[in-house]
Assembly symmetry: C2
Homo-oligomer: 325 residues x 2
């Protein structure tokens, strides 16, 4: 499959690993890049020093393109961006902030800039700021969320209409159907989170988190901390505890601390981010299997749906009796 995203990023398949703090490390990112996608290291929990080390570790594992994801609200954001420039990272994925202050410097250093947006207006602003592509992230997505809460199906065509640069879709995409649907909606690639959590190469999450992904259905996640710092988590004792912290007047800092300091490897409940597509994820697979199932499956769907619905040029169309009355 070739789109402007595969061309822009020089990758084989237009699928990016969604950056997940403390989870998408060099190993998982390298596996995605080696399988033909865009691996992503999350910078959110890293210092300048540890991010630098993680980038080098990734470069030992693959020579293919990869990205580092930086939430711009981090106090260390500009320091982390400097590391990204110094380490010659090919792609940066910025989120949760305005990329305008960074775009020029990044692009002058040959770095491709992708910005995560929750609505059409902010996509347009990111394009005006000079980014190369946007990830339009819908309401179904796991992790920290936008208060705009626009569902992926409604979001992608509206973002696609708002910008000329290519769009990657994110939020609730957990199999070939969701990926192919996003291509139909106007996206030219997808950023995938939860499906990559349930892979052998994802070694930063423990049994509890993985089990809750594999056993949960479409109702198993919820947005917590709405109005303070919304985040989509698996509904469990930790998400309930976080709700109690909010009810007691918890601040943004309290929420960030509770979530980012959690033990992902725990064998009990934790504040585990997860997208709404989890009911489609039934087994642990390799990263290669996930990407292959998305891409081959989407190609098959796009080739085969027309005959399946008995679509033909010879359809007689409607008879408009009503309007003639």
């Amino acid at each position: 499959m070739r789109t402007r995203i595969t061309e822009l990023l020089e990758i084989r398949h237009p699928i990016a690993l969604g950056g997940m703090a403390g989870v998408t490390d060099a190993q998982l990112a390298a596996a995605v890049s080696e399988a033909g996608g865009l691996g992503t290291i999350a910078a959110a929990k890293e210092s300048a020093l540890s991010l630098s080390a993680e980038i080098r570790r990734l470069k030992d594992l693959t020579e293919r393109p990869f990205a580092v994801n930086v939430p711009l609200m981090l106090t260390a954001a500009s320091e982390l961006v400097e590391v990204i420039i110094k380490e010659e990272v090919p792609v940066i994925i910025t989120a949760a902030g305005n990329p305008a202050a960074y775009t020029k410097t990044l692009k002058n250093n040959g770095i491709t800039v992708i910005h995560v947006v929750p609505c059409a207006e902010l996509a347009k602003r990111a394009e005006d700021a000079g980014v190369d592509a946007v990830i339009a992230e819908g309401f179904e997505s796991g992790g920290f969320a936008s208060p705009h809460e626009i569902g992926t199906l409604a979001l992608i065509p509206q973002v696609s209409d708002a910008v000329k640069i290519p769009v990657l879709a994110a939020g609730g995409i957990a199999d070939a159907r969701g990926f192919a649907a996003c291509l139909i909606l106007g996206a030219e690639g997808a950023s995938i989170g939860t499906s990559f959590l349930a892979t052998y190469e994802c070694t930063r999450i423990g049994k509890a988190w993985r089990r809750q992904i594999l056993s949960g259905d479409d109702t198993a996640t919820k947005i917590v901390a709405r109005g303070v710092m919304p985040v989509r988590l698996l509904a469990n004792s930790s998400s309930r505890e976080l709700e109690e912290i909010i009810a007691a007047g918890g601040s943004k800092q309290d929420i960030q601390k509770y979530i980012l300091k959690a033990d992902w490897m725990a064998e009990a409940d934790g504040p585990f981010p997860c997208g709404q597509g989890l009911g489609l994820i039934k087994a642990v697979r390799t990263v290669h299997e996930v990407i292959e199932s998305f891409v081959s499956g989407a190609e098959d769907l796009l080739r085969e749906k027309a005959p399946q619905f008995k679509i033909s040029r010879e359809d007689p169309g409607v008879e408009l009796n009503y309007a003639e009355q």
Copy 2:
């Protein structure tokens, strides 16, 4: 386009008019049925007498199949169902309740039963209760909403996997891209609300509501009365007033009363239901034009996307260097 939905309902195009209280009257429903879709009268604001009259008015306008939509939470629900049986309505669309108590009687009277569901588990239960099809309604949808809040893109494949009966998609579908995407996700038809509000045949809404649909973007709606009786409305002075009513301890009854007693024809703000796809709706069209644009557009997309993405059987696939290390 032929699917199990066009066969089940004996209609030309697998597109239903979403029932909207006080808005989807005989005239709008007849226009949709005459254009080859499934027109729907909403029973929510009707008495047995007025519903009966509306059904007869519709039968004067079209001989094609149509539906009546009944929220089962209404105190008058069973009385309205009796009217539907007596007036020999071909299709009933039940919502907001358990269809089990009605399914057998309805089917014994030759009525096709479609039930609206917000998640996979309730789709399965509706199938077990004997309904003929489900409408899987996602978070993006306008009007009264489920607390499950599952985005349409994540919802449709999970519901499709849960049931054998055909699925119609609803929520945020406002052009051919959304409709085609839902077919890819596993639906065999769609239930469309907001797009039909912006038609010449929709005469029950006034200038203010229509103007706010045509001018709004993807951020223009919001869920109000979360935790009491959630409803997606256009964000305006009325939605803010309703939030104040809730903040002051307003009940379900207060919300229903505020919304259903509103003057839809008002030239000022009102509590106007609207889906998240509104940014895709740019002009008032005929019902025929809306249906034609959805169906022909989706057919074209499904035929043309594969070549657009340069998909071919000859794609070399991935090389899995990483897993071999």
